[in-house]
Symmetry: C2
Subunit: 319 residues, 2 copies
């Protein structure tokens, strides 16, 4: 826990008020880590809603207006539009400001944003590895980043003090902060996040198209495993389209590895090789325990989905 | 809710006290749906533990002993041993008893059990579609089946009254009961449960073997999506080995469909076809809403995983 004598930043500008932007806003409000929040969103409806629910001290009409005099600017937009968003506010940035983002892909974001930014600002890309399947300004909550990782990928030569200040900012919102190279980040996330989403999107689509099993049967019997996939296959379509388009190489690499392993298990099933299946399934169980013991998930069975109460029959005679 | 003047069954015999068997025992105790529970397990440790925690009125030393004079016998064992378990108790069954199971595969279980059973009993195979990633006699709880489906697959010619009595039993434990043919059940479960487990087992294994990303990185950043797969990849290895060996054809069929769809999405990524990705991801989001609206999952974001509290910094000056 960071103890603050005074806010880390005088004014934070948030460009984009979806799940992540609105959660940062709420986190700042809860912790006082910044003196003032100025926010904007390209959607007039989102700006109106943000005003209504008090997400910021001031809602600006444009990103250019929002970044004026801010000492921290965070683009909370899909990675596919990071470049144009950076271009839209670049000439309005205050000298010495830190510019960051929250994109799930880093190398492509650096390549898209950096060329637009003046030499007088510090560019420190960031990726808070946190989210839910919900989107929009009402979906955010202050605790979203608590005990989650936030990865910073400062390009070589970035001012160390700027990196340290952004690290303190994310720490204050509850995140564990780690620094790595953008390319390595993209490989790590390809396996831990992008490939799982692609697989979930695929299988949910497959189930939707079967001739021999109806959609209503799929929905009814989803508790057998399928429903765990549907949560991540309900994530924001725009965000995920951009992730796959901008982290193409790492995702295709991991997909190749996955395909090899799936072929191995398929062959074991076809040949009736029970020992190979048992060995594999025992190994994967241990990995789950590792995740729970690292605090990245909870040990309560079934993700702690509450069981409905069991109706105890009335013992009195009845017709 | 079934209102009972008297127990539906005089004595239920439970063969096997893992997650499902122990949950049935607790459900019976909570509802009084049976007058007496006699249970057994092939493991002496499980029998001892079951005695300790009071799972049954009596723990028998063998399945042959357990089924004596029971009017309902449920084999709660992996599908791979259903045949030998049926053989072990067949000659001890009381005439008129209902014999059932809880296996995730039905056609193979019917083929394995039926030849051993005397003509004087009623065989009504069942599959409660419920579970958690935990195993063993301590994992069970009375509410496991509430609002979950239980599928009965009585072979043609089964006594209708026996089917109705088993339906009432599962209703009393809170389940919604449906009847279908064993082969159709196996196709429905192949897509809603078996394929999702196979895919989850595969990707968790893939992540464990990568050279370029360390295991500790996979565990750390699992909140990006990967951890949702690890829950079902932590399910009981014996149970799942048996499922894939005994529902081979339907699983391989569904796997073929999945592979085609994965190729389509892979091609869209390779070609940078953002529209195709966006269209697919929008469709899958709607399926999630269908599952939530059917009550087969909860709408709370992130499966209702509780967020850790955000530590609010101490505003008092400190060093």
């Amino acid at each position: 826990m960071v103890e603050l004598d005074q806010p880390l930043f005088r004014r934070v500008a948030l460009i984009g008020l979806g799940l992540i932007g609105s959660s940062i806003a709420r986190g700042i409000q809860a912790t006082g880590v910044a003196g003032e929040i100025v926010a904007t969103d390209r959607s007039p409806e989102v700006r109106a809603r943000a005003r209504e629910i008090g997400l910021a001290d001031r809602i600006a009409e444009s990103s250019a207006e929002a970044v004026e005099e801010a000492d921290l600017v965070i683009a909370c937009v899909p990675v596919g539009v990071c470049g144009e968003v950076a271009e839209s506010f670049a000439t309005h940035l205050a000298p010495g400001a830190i510019v960051s983002d929250v994109g799930s892909v880093k190398a492509a974001v650096v390549a898209a944003m950096q060329p637009h930014l003046p030499a007088s600002v510090h560019f420190v890309p960031a990726h808070p590895v946190a989210g839910t399947e919900d989107s929009g300004p009402d979906a955010g909550f202050a605790e979203l980043f608590v005990n989650r990782w936030c990865v910073l990928t400062p390009p070589a030569g970035t001012d160390a003090l700027a990196v340290e200040r952004l690290r303190q900012f994310w720490s204050a919102l509850g995140a564990n902060v780690e620094t790595m190279e953008a390319e390595h980040h993209d490989r790590v996330l390809a396996i831990t996040s992008h490939l799982p989403h692609l697989i979930a999107y695929t299988i949910v689509g497959t189930a939707d198209e079967l001739g021999s099993v109806t959609e209503s049967e799929v929905l009814k019997f989803s508790a057998g495993g399928f429903r765990d996939f549907t949560r991540i296959a309900a994530s924001d379509p725009t965000m995920w389209r951009d992730v796959f388009l901008t982290n193409k190489d790492a995702v295709l690499d991991m997909l190749g590895e996955f395909q090899e392993d799936l072929s191995k298990l398929t062959r074991a099933i076809r040949r009736g090789d029970g020992d190979a299946l048992f060995e594999h399934f025992t190994r994967t169980r241990a990995i789950r325990r590792g995740i729970v013991s690292l605090g990245q998930d909870e040990a309560r069975p079934n993700f702690g989905r509450p069981a409905a109460p069991l109706a105890v029959p009335d013992k009195a005679p009845s017709k």
